[in-house]
Symmetry: C2
Subunit: 404 residues, 2 copies
Amino acid sequence: MRCAENDIAALDASDPLAPARNAFDLPENLIYLDGNSLGPPSRATLSAVATTMNSEWREDLIRSWNTSDWIGLPKRCGQKIAKLIGVQRDEVIVCDSVSVNIFKLASALLAKSSGAIVVHADEFPTDAYIAIGLANQIGADFRRIEETAGPEALNETDGIIIKSLVHYKTAAVANISDWEKAARQKGVSIIWDLSHAAGALDLNLAVDGAEFAVGCGYKYLNGGPGAPAFIFVKKERASDLTQPLSGWMGHKKPFDFSDDYAPADGIERFLCGTPSIISMTALNAALDIFDDHSMAAIEKKARGLSDLFAEGCAELGLAPDAPPAEERRGAHLCFAHDGAYEIVQTLIKRDVIGDFRTPNFMRFGFSPLFLRYQDVSNAVSILKEILDTEEWRKPEYAMRAKVT
Amino acid sequence: MRCAENDIAALDASDPLAPARNAFDLPENLIYLDGNSLGPPSRATLSAVATTMNSEWREDLIRSWNTSDWIGLPKRCGQKIAKLIGVQRDEVIVCDSVSVNIFKLASALLAKSSGAIVVHADEFPTDAYIAIGLANQIGADFRRIEETAGPEALNETDGIIIKSLVHYKTAAVANISDWEKAARQKGVSIIWDLSHAAGALDLNLAVDGAEFAVGCGYKYLNGGPGAPAFIFVKKERASDLTQPLSGWMGHKKPFDFSDDYAPADGIERFLCGTPSIISMTALNAALDIFDDHSMAAIEKKARGLSDLFAEGCAELGLAPDAPPAEERRGAHLCFAHDGAYEIVQTLIKRDVIGDFRTPNFMRFGFSPLFLRYQDVSNAVSILKEILDTEEWRKPEYAMRAKVT
């Protein structure tokens, strides 16, 4: 049963996160259900990048490495993310991309303890591709386990598993604690990919026993297109690990220009080249909004928004490809439909932005910091119209763009 | 003999590159001799990043991957750089950092033909550190050759050499053609690091027989702090090479989400994760200034500026650690001095920006696009004052910052 209009208004009126929307500067009338793919800029982010460009870079030039602490940005961003995922502040650093960071961690772990690299059959593609690339490079085995396989599928001949915490389609959430216990018994290390989780779920990696993770800066963290990624290594494990992308920024004393490579003591050894300051400035500013809101409140509202959407869709005969309703879920929903690509294009034309995921999924994200319950309700109404009128069958909506 | 003031004015008056300075928005009275370390933003760069932030990202959000061709940025930037280094337009792509790109190329080449990884004893640190990291990872040999060693130092048991075209201290320029011929006879591949060369020297890599190179976006290309780097692979060689950082952006069809990794046909297979759009936008805009000026004119003026500086310094008893005057040289000069760190700090206090390189070098870069002969002449006068008065001996100038 869909909520009546006055119920929707009441939900927004009593929403403790409602003020967060003002921190963003979203286009009017746009219903943005794609913050899971690219979060929008906060006003603070727009302003921070302008300052970095016009003042730090243009005026202070090279001096800003010290005077604006550009050199400290990877650590400062890491400290903010550490809080969001429930680990110690000096256990996270921001650098490179998710793909590169998976490679660093996977290679470092296999150097300590060899074995196969494992991924689920339906793991996010780049995670599997990096696993394949590394396996071919160092002659490790690579194997896939079934989509639904639990930790019992791990073998003692496995070395590591690269695993999304939140599935990029179903939004199913793995139980970190169960996986870690089972993996440890088999001597397997888990690299958690938090890309679809960080900034959306209330995470406590330390409590749950996770030791290694990577994640994306441009989804729920709103760090901007292609924002730098992050990497987490539990402090006790960091100094054991030698990662092969040993560029100068991971050196204990980068500006001593010494002949030998001596890795920094903790998480900084996972740095490689010069950090991408302009992009990292955006992420750094974007993270500040999380100071004002608890991750528990954020996860709760994400669930409320996506439940509201799912209820509306149920009346349209659409059921998400999602875990059972009583289970924990990430902040997005996927619906299979033969016209998925065309429906998403039609929605975009109507200013409701979601995305298409091959082969036939419509995906919608429910970022709780800027979405109102009213937005979600309106999105359902527009979707209903598009389906009722079959507007999506117009040939113009079938043209495929390069990026989907 | 130093030029008289009216000679300096004449040099500026007849400088064909003089109009280029207007494309930048440098702080008044600043003499910026550090464009070799971090180039300044052009006005077009400041404006392009503002557009990406406020319009492409803020308004168009995820749609900009298609509508603003964000997805094509790595190729579009690569095409512009290809022109500057004298290779075909589809042989260069922009991505990641110099360190990461060296790793990709070195690993791909050694997978085809094993052997030791070679660097000069005085190679730029991160190049050597990456060589060490890769050697340890895959069990390859790593060896250093003497600072002054020529291509005859290569052995048939060597696989690759990672070599700066322009030395980061002396600015000595290697002869690509000689090195390539000698290396090929020994079956050794050369990865040229063009970081201190691209945008400063008139390069013709194709003519000279180079097949592989990487380079930096934030020095003479003015792409901004930590700008993405570039990678060049000769077309005929690209499809032979499999690089291990096989993230989704290097896939033939990234958005098909297929199980297997099928690398893109040409240089795009060297992409890895999602490109850092905000930083890459800056580099992309910065490169446009090279459309208006030939690299021959740029190299010629760089030489003119640095010769003028060297002549002035000679009168102060300072001789650069540089190749003989009749040889080709990059666009910077290094001077050894026991008070190098302090003198550089004193110059900075006086608005003359150079940098310090360990253990005792002052380094000054002569970016021809925004420097006037008058700036160089003034810098010499200020340096003379600082040395004459021994102002640099004040204790305040000896405080070491984190980044030098």
